[in-house]
């Protein structure tokens, strides 16, 4: 029952707390691309890979009282913080989730900022393209973010380090 919900709860518990909807979306997307078995379907939206299913699932978890969603005003918009509640922890303890190598990758991603994770997820989205084509996509589709070639290169290195981390822990 609610196996896919339990996987998300496991991810939130592993990080302790995730700040920002965008960050949550990108972390789960990147984890999925690292072959962790998240079932949520992602599509490219105006600001990168996004999953409506993930949004709704987190909303369900919040309505069920398993995940606490704290809304805070930040500048001109609202930001959300997510953590697992006690009843969420109890539910999770009764539902086995086996992704032993996930927490280490998640903790690492959670230390990155949302802007960088947006770039990493975009690079992963276009992984079938050459580096030059990816850079062109980033500059065209994310022109407002003003990413540099150096940042794109950092994104590639970061993806490699995450892959190593995921592999070494298997």
């Amino acid at each position: 029952m609610l196996k896919d919900h339990a996987k998300l709860m496991y991810a939130i518990e592993a990080t302790g707390e995730i700040t920002g909807r965008k960050k949550l979306q990108k972390i789960i997307y990147i984890a999925k691309k690292l072959s962790f078995p998240f079932q949520e379907r992602f599509q490219f939206h105006f600001y990168g890979p996004y999953s409506e299913e993930l949004t709704l699932r987190v909303e369900e978890l919040s309505n069920l009282g398993f995940v606490e969603e704290i809304r805070e005003k930040k500048g001109g918009y609202f930001q959300y913080r997510y953590s697992l509640t006690d009843s969420g922890k109890e539910f999770l303890s009764l539902n086995e989730v086996e992704m032993p190598c996930l927490p280490d990758c998640l903790l690492d991603m959670n230390e990155q900022n949302a802007r960088f994770l947006e770039l990493v997820s975009t690079v992963l989205y276009f992984e079938n393209l050459s580096r030059e084509e990816v850079a062109e996509k980033v500059f065209t589709l994310k022109s407002k973010q003003k990413y540099t070639l150096e940042e794109i290169s950092d994104a590639y290195s970061y993806i490699e380090s995450l892959k190593e981390k995921a592999k070494s822990l298997v």
Binding site: R21, Q25, H45, F46, L56, R57, Y77
Partner: protein, 432 residues
């Protein structure tokens, strides 16, 4: 004159119950409609299992795709044409993308995608870019034209204004399916003044905005969307049919993995079971093929597969009760044990279905800029997000309802010829 600008000698029209007529003047569009990949959409229902609840809902992805094309054609030819913010060179790619946006949908695609981990968007890309009749037509426009059309549909095209015509919170796709689904299901929701909305749409640098004077028409559209979700798309009976369909696919896959000897061998499913579905295999699938198997599998030796197929074909669906996972997850474990004692496999006959299992979305104001919200163009040229101006939209796009239901076969439980006491215990638990 190039193929991309070639016009038919006479305009062709499709009679359409939603838009009255779908007008085709461009040779490319006419040729695309005639391809076998596009014709395949006639054999895929727009609303999957919903026809088991609303018997009129037999309409296909073919008619929806034509409808989306027609809406985009009207926006471009009747509203955007001649406006400085609109580049007329984007007309053909927009029309083609609208027509082809659902090309990769398979039979009962929601269940199939879940069980076999497929993605219809990926197949849309493959059909447009692969060795297909659709690709051959698009290539005649230009070598890079198929790629452009594919990018618009994938939302990675450089001109975001074009993308937002087909994919945004108020796009041609939604405007067609809301009206079409309302028409064919026969419900009285889902209607709004589309003509008015089209007239107040304005192209801007990277999106399409709505003139402030059209706000009330947009409110009506948002209300229609909200009502259609709860009255049609999230209908518990359609969800019951979807649950059974999903379980049939799981069972067939499981039996294949266990080397079960099918009376009717699932030839068309082999590549799905083995997770190596090629484009060629995929294009052979449509709902007539799938229903043929379900019809035949009613005679299988495996009692679970034959029972589930009988249920689906004869509309003997699962019953449901409201379920609160937060308060009742321990009850679920208890029920699962009792089902096993009663000889009813809970993996197939006791199912929790959540609103997030369904493929539809709500209007969201788009905080943190994740999804572009509907933007109003105010009289002073300022852009304002819709829910900040409209109290109605603000009210229904705030905290959204979520919903979980527990599905089970009531007829099995009321059959007291065996395990009467256990079944009574189950019923008592379900009634609690």
């Amino acid at each position: 004159m190039g193929y991309g600008t070639e016009k038919l000698m006479e305009e062709k029209v499709f009679k359409d119950p939603v838009h009255r007529y779908v007008h085709v003047r461009d040779r490319v569009i006419w040729d695309l409609v005639g391809t076998k990949e596009f014709q395949r959409l006639r054999r895929i229902k727009q609303l999957g299992t919903t026809y088991l609840t609303f018997h009129g809902a037999e309409h296909s992805r073919f008619s929806h795709s034509l409808g989306v094309y027609e809406i985009i054609r009207r926006i471009i030819d009747d509203v955007f044409k001649g406006r400085p913010e609109w580049n007329e060179e984007e007309r053909l790619v927009s029309l083609c993308a609208g027509l082809l946006h659902d090309l990769g949908h398979g039979p009962f695609s929601h269940s199939f995608e879940k069980v076999f981990d497929l993605d219809h968007e990926e197949f849309t890309q493959k059909i447009i870019l692969g060795d297909t009749e659709v690709n051959a037509v698009l290539m005649k426009v230009g070598a890079d034209f198929p790629k452009k059309v594919a990018e618009v549909i994938a939302k990675t095209y450089s001109n975001k204004q074009v993308v937002s015509l087909i994919s945004s919170q108020i796009d041609a796709d939604r405007m067609d399916y809301l009206q079409r689904d309302a028409y064919y299901t026969g419900v009285s929701y889902g209607h709004f003044d589309m003509e008015r909305i089209l007239r107040v749409m304005r192209p801007r640098e990277d999106q399409v905005v709505i003139k402030q004077s059209g706000m009330h028409a947009v409110e009506d559209y948002i209300m229609s969307r909200y009502q259609m979700y709860w009255q049609v798309y999230f209908h518990p009976v359609s969800r019951s049919a979807e649950v059974i369909l999903t379980k049939i696919l799981h069972r067939a896959k499981h039996l294949h993995e266990k080397y079960y000897s099918f009376k009717q061998h699932p030839i068309h499913f082999y590549s799905l079971f083995e997770d190596e579905t090629t484009l060629e295999d995929y294009l052979k699938l449509d709902e007539s093929i799938i229903l043929y198997y379900f019809q035949m599998w009613q005679e299988e030796e495996d009692s679970i597969l034959s029972d589930l197929c009988r249920r689906f074909m004869n509309r003997n669906l699962f019953q449901y009760v409201e379920f609160d996972p937060a308060k009742e997850y321990k009850k679920m474990a208890e029920l699962s044990l009792l089902f096993k004692k009663a000889g009813i496999d809970p993996d197939y006959y006791l199912v929790v279905d959540s609103s997030s299992d369904l493929p539809y979305d709500f209007y969201r104001p788009g905080e943190e800029e994740e999804r572009l919200p509907i933007q109003l163009l105010m009289k002073n040229n300022e852009i304002r997000e819709l829910s900040r101006e409209s109290a109605i939209v603000d009210a229904i796009s705030g905290k959204r309802r979520t919903d979980h239901k527990l599905y089970f076969p009531a007829d099995f439980l009321s059959d007291y010829t065996s395990k009467k006491n256990v079944k009574k215990q189950i019923q008592a638990l379900l009634d609690r």
